[in-house]
């Protein structure tokens, strides 16, 4: 058989002409890189599950995307990450919700599928399981990006809600492109 791969990096009000050429090029490069990671696995005869992990690892590490590093902030000023994976051959599945310290939530979802009796783990228990599975644990500030923090401040301000303190370990505040925040507000209304 022949392998194939299809990827998304989020949907929303992404307006032609509203994004800078530089930012559009960054997204296109990142999507191309994601294809290359998947191709590297599948072309060597690797499994679809391994390809999923390889592709998503890079996207979870890329601040461009709302996943892993680059995730948006909750109203409490935290990054809470969700992920899931499913194997079409066996109908086995794994999922995690609300994790805050696991670098690659997709790998935790796969560990839930492969190494537990369960389908979904959430919060603190999911992170305990991640430690037991010896997955990479990072401090919550690892996920901090100024762009997402500023977007959260803007959203909370519009709702009249209090702004939480910056997370421990977050870098010193830096300037943000407010035009970019306007675009983000339209584009990343949802996850």
């Amino acid at each position: 058989g022949r392998w194939a791969l299809v990827i998304h990096g989020g949907a929303g009000v992404i307006e032609r002409g509203a994004m800078t050429p530089e930012r559009e090029a960054e997204y296109r490069d990142a999507m191309n890189a994601a294809l290359v990671r998947g191709e590297a696995v599948l072309d060597q005869g690797g499994s679809a599950l391994d390809a999923i992990e390889a592709v998503i690892h890079g996207m979870e590490d890329d601040p461009l995307f709302n996943a892993g590093r680059g995730a948006v902030f909750t109203a409490a000023g935290r990054n809470e990450l969700d992920a899931s994976i499913m194997d079409g051959a066996s109908l086995e599945a794994g999922a995690v919700a609300g994790v805050t310290q696991v670098r690659h939530p997709i790998s935790l979802a796969r560990a839930v599928m492969d190494n537990s009796r369960h389908v979904m783990l959430q919060g603190e228990g999911a992170e305990t399981f991640a430690r037991e599975q010896e997955l990479e644990i990072v401090p919550p500030a690892y996920f901090f990006t100024e762009r997402r923090w500023a977007a959260m401040e803007r959203s909370l301000g519009a709702l009249g809600l209090p702004i939480p303190s910056r997370p421990d370990g977050a870098p010193a505040p830096t300037g943000v492109d407010h035009g970019e925040l306007d675009r983000d507000a339209r584009e990343h209304r949802f996850g």
Binding site: L5, V6, I7, I14, A51, N66, I85, I106, R148
Partner: protein, 133 residues
């Protein structure tokens, strides 16, 4: 949100999705991304799907498994099934977002009712396609 559906040379499909959720969300809100059948689904008998969008609507419609059910039980081709669920049913409910999908035969589809979706596809021996709008 990011997501992938892959078909390997053994004919197996897998799907995965990962997200940070929604900006300034409260109360421990969880969307569709970690919900099997809503944001992620894979079945070698039909297709694999990964979704992105307003999660509450994707959960209520069980979007990912619904597309695969239309392929498996009603014989729709993947693009038609995807467009029915996203373009007709999701839109009629007031939900927005999109999906990427893949069948064991290598048929690829994407469908979205938003102005854009970051997306890419590649089949063995083919040319990569990357699109935004």
């Amino acid at each position: 949100t990011v997501g992938v559906v892959a078909l390997d040379r053994a004919g197996n499909i897998a799907a995965g999705t990962s997200t940070g959720g929604t900006t300034a969300k409260r109360w421990g809100r969880v969307g569709d991304s970690p919900i099997i059948g809503a944001g992620t689904y894979a079945n070698n008998a039909s297709c694999g799907v990964s979704a992105t969008g307003t999660g509450e609507y994707f959960i209520r419609l069980t979007v990912a498994s619904r597309i695969c059910a239309l392929v498996e039980f009603q014989g729709l081709d993947l693009q038609a099934a995807s467009d029915q669920v996203i373009g007709d049913e999701l839109t009629a409910m007031g939900g927005d977002g999109g999906i990427v999908a893949l069948t064991p035969g290598g048929e690829i589809a994407w469908s979205f009712n938003t102005p854009g979706m970051y997306r890419a596809r590649l089949s063995e021996g083919g040319e990569p396609v990357v699109a935004i709008y």
